[in-house]
């Protein structure tokens, strides 16, 4: 379990105030939480539940349903590789194997030094310049093995 962020209570007060009155505010709140700490700390669940007058189980159910919400922090860098069909047609499977081998980790894992988390993504809308990747939120097209090595060099440094 990661340590409880010191500013959790004060930041949560702000986040909840920012979203008060919004229709269907739970996803925007969770995005804000993840934006603040890089993951959704367990400790926010009862705070959100109380504020929205829903059960903790409902909040947990939403967090666990969506791929985006992390229950623990990711590595310092997040590399997402598209695994969908258009990228497959341009060798994405081969590039993904190369990435897993080069990093020594599988999907959803983080390197031992905490530098890189590797995640699959299903379509970045870059299907005409496949294979596609996203590195720390920045999109990259035509990712072959050489381009991937160059990307990994920048995040492993």
């Amino acid at each position: 379990m990661p340590p409880v962020p010191a500013d959790l209570a004060s930041r949560m007060t702000e986040i909840l105030a920012d979203h008060r009155g919004m229709e269907g505010s739970l996803l925007p709140i969770l995005h804000a939480v993840q934006g603040a700490w890089g993951y959704v700390p367990q400790e926010v669940v009862p705070i959100i539940a109380l504020d929205l007058n829903i059960s903790r189980a409902e909040v947990h159910g939403v967090i666990s349903f969506y791929h985006d919400f992390r229950e623990e922090p990711a590595g310092r860098h997040v590399v997402k590789l598209c695994r969908a069909e258009a990228c497959q047609a341009m060798g994405a499977d081969r590039v993904a194997s190369h990435a897993r081998q080069a990093l020594g980790i599988d999907w959803h894992e983080t390197t031992a030094d905490g530098a890189v988390t590797l995640e699959p993504v299903f379509c970045l809308g870059l299907c005409a310049c496949a294979p596609a990747a996203m590195v720390d939120g920045r999109v990259v097209g035509r990712v072959d093995e050489a381009r991937l090595d160059a990307l990994l060099a920048t995040v492993q440094a």
Binding site: E23, G24, S25, L26, L27, P28, L30, H31, L52, E58, G61, V62, F65, Y66, H67, D68, F69, C82, A84, E85, A86, C87, Q88, A89, M90, V121, F122, C123, L124, G125, L126, C127, A128, C129, A130, A132, M134, G137, R138, V139, V140, G141, R142
Partner: protein
């Protein structure tokens, strides 16, 4: 000197930002004043980053740009190694009928002046001069059908919502474009966001809804940024807010970010997600048109459907309806992707054949190898072999060939593709993304992947089992995820039986 260079995600993925910085620093070095506009993409992704220099004779295109090509933009343009000629005269551009995408790549996406100068808000003003009922009738008359894939007539959906009595109604734009091979929504939102806003306002006044949401997937950070800014700009200009263009009509909207669930592209799952719940599919009826967001009557339309509305009002339903074939009227933005020499967005009337799309427009494969299969309509669309390449692009035409046009993504594979592997991926994807509500999808997809593994090991008896399972999923699933996963699976099995031949590894 005025230069255009796209800020579209595909251009940025191909280093457009570095080219933009180089253009500005080269201009400074030479003491030349440059007005650099970060426009949307023209859709010729194989030429990105595509720079355009404004000249007396028009905009001249240069691409694909590398850093070494930047200084040449300040010299003799005719001698530039990447000069392609006038953008509007390029074959890819000339062969299109750009109605929905008329402004994409042409204007500065966040300049309202540029938007107005290119016909923006004309459709809205026209619609505001009509009664809400006449607005709905105009959309019905245009023949526009849902561009998200289901193909339901947009005007009929609006009529249902307009006729429902409620204290609040909503317009929800489905911008959860999760299908592989599709990027039209993304390009439209990044290249001409005000068009979508205008379309949503027209929908609002047609059905008496005062609030709109764009549910935009988190995988599109660039589109989220542009749409968010566009909403702020439109609100500041009085286009959104308590009195749209001073008319007294209220309409405002919010951009909401998805959280990585493919199934949220399904409208009822999207509505649950928007309400802050798990993105689980709802049973229909009740239709979202009657009980949608927070139980209120809701129009749920795809980005392209809504973004086409202003053009329909600007040019008239009869004009729009003049394109297309059969019951597939108007234009369709084809997204040509995967293993193609020339990939990108190509808007044209319905009716082109796959042969025209792949061999003529896209120029065959990028690898230069023969085309083996084409998947049309995303991960839930059928794989077609070359023998089906004369099929005209239309809703009914594809349905009768056991396929679907979906969001009009066309993904090309060369002869190195293993169709059994593609079929297995379809099941695996369905298993990963299933919301879990109905059994045929939740369990069926897992069993499907296992059954395909048995076939791969040479178990002939598993083939009828797979066929039977696909029947169950198709007939018994609540939504298109479980219901349409059989399309890629069965089309792979039917059209490419050799890849499913028993003991193929042993025989080799």
């Amino acid at each position: 000197m005025k230069i255009y260079l796209p800020r579209d995600a595909a251009a940025r993925a191909l280093d457009a930002d570095a080219i933009a910085a180089a253009i500005l620093s080269e201009a400074t070095r030479r003491g030349v004043a440059v007005d650099l506009v970060r426009n949307g993409s023209r859709g010729m992704v194989w030429l990105e980053p595509l720079a355009e220099v404004v000249t007396a004779s028009g905009r001249i295109a240069f691409g694909p740009m590398t850093l070494a090509d930047v200084p040449g933009l300040f010299g003799d343009l005719a001698q530039h190694p990447k000069a392609l000629g006038l953008t509007d005269d390029l074959p890819w551009m000339k062969a299109q009928t750009r109605l929905t995408f008329a402004r994409v790549g042409v204007i500065d996406p966040l300049s309202l002046d540029d938007y107005r100068a290119h016909g923006g808000l004309t459709g809205l003003r026209k619609a505001m001069s009509m009664t809400p009922a006449a607005v709905v009738e105009e959309v019905i008359a245009s023949g526009l059908r849902g561009r998200g894939g289901a193909g339901f007539p947009t005007g009929i959906k609006w009529k249902t919502v307009a006729g429902a009595a409620a204290d609040r109604k909503y317009i929800v734009c489905n911008a959860d474009e999760g299908d592989s091979g599709t990027f039209a929504d993304r390009m439209l939102m990044e290249g001409d966001p005000f068009t979508l806003i205008e379309g949503m306002i027209i929908a609002g006044l047609a059905v008496s809804a005062t609030k709109g949401f764009v549910y935009l997937r988190s995988e599109y950070p660039d589109a989220i940024e542009v749409m968010t800014q566009a909403v702020h700009i439109a609100r500041a200009a009085g286009i959104l807010g308590p009195s749209v263009l001073g008319s007294g009509i209220t309409f405002d909207m919010e951009i909401r970010t998805g959280a990585g669930a493919y199934v949220c592209g399904e409208e009822t799952s999207l509505l649950n997600s928007l309400e802050g719940k798990r993105g689980v599919v709802r049973a229909k009826p009740p239709l979202p048109a009657l009980q949608g967001f927070l139980g209120k009557p809701t129009v749920v339309n795809n980005v392209i459907s809504l973004a086409t509305i202003p053009a329909i009002f600007e040019m008239g339903a009869a004009f729009y309806k003049g394109f297309g074939l059969g019951r597939s009227l108007g234009t369709i933005p084809l997204q040509i992707a995967g293993n193609v020499a020339r990939g990108g967005l190509f808007e044209c009337a319905f009716g082109l054949t796959l042969h025209q799309i792949i061999d003529d427009i896209a120029g065959g494969t990028a690898t230069g190898r023969p085309v083996k299969a084409v998947q049309v309509g995303g991960p839930l669309g059928a794989y077609f072999p070359r023998s089906k390449f004369d099929l005209p692009f239309g809703y009914e035409e594809y349905a009768s060939a056991d396929g679907l046009i979906g969001h009009a993504g066309v993904v090309v594979f060369d002869d190195s593709v293993d169709m059994l592997k593609q079929a297995r991926f379809a099941m695996e994807f369905c298993a990963i993304e299933s919301c879990g509500k109905c059994t045929p999808c939740r369990i069926g997809a897992v069993r499907g992947a296992e059954t395909i593994d048995r076939i791969a090991r040479g178990d002939v008896a598993a083939i009828p089992l797979l066929t039977d399972l696909c029947q169950t999923m198709k007939a018994g699933s609540l939504c298109a995820l479980g219901g349409f996963t059989p399309y890629p699976v069965m089309s792979a099995l039917t059209h490419f039986p050799d890849d499913f031949a028993p003991m193929r590894e042993a025989a080799e």
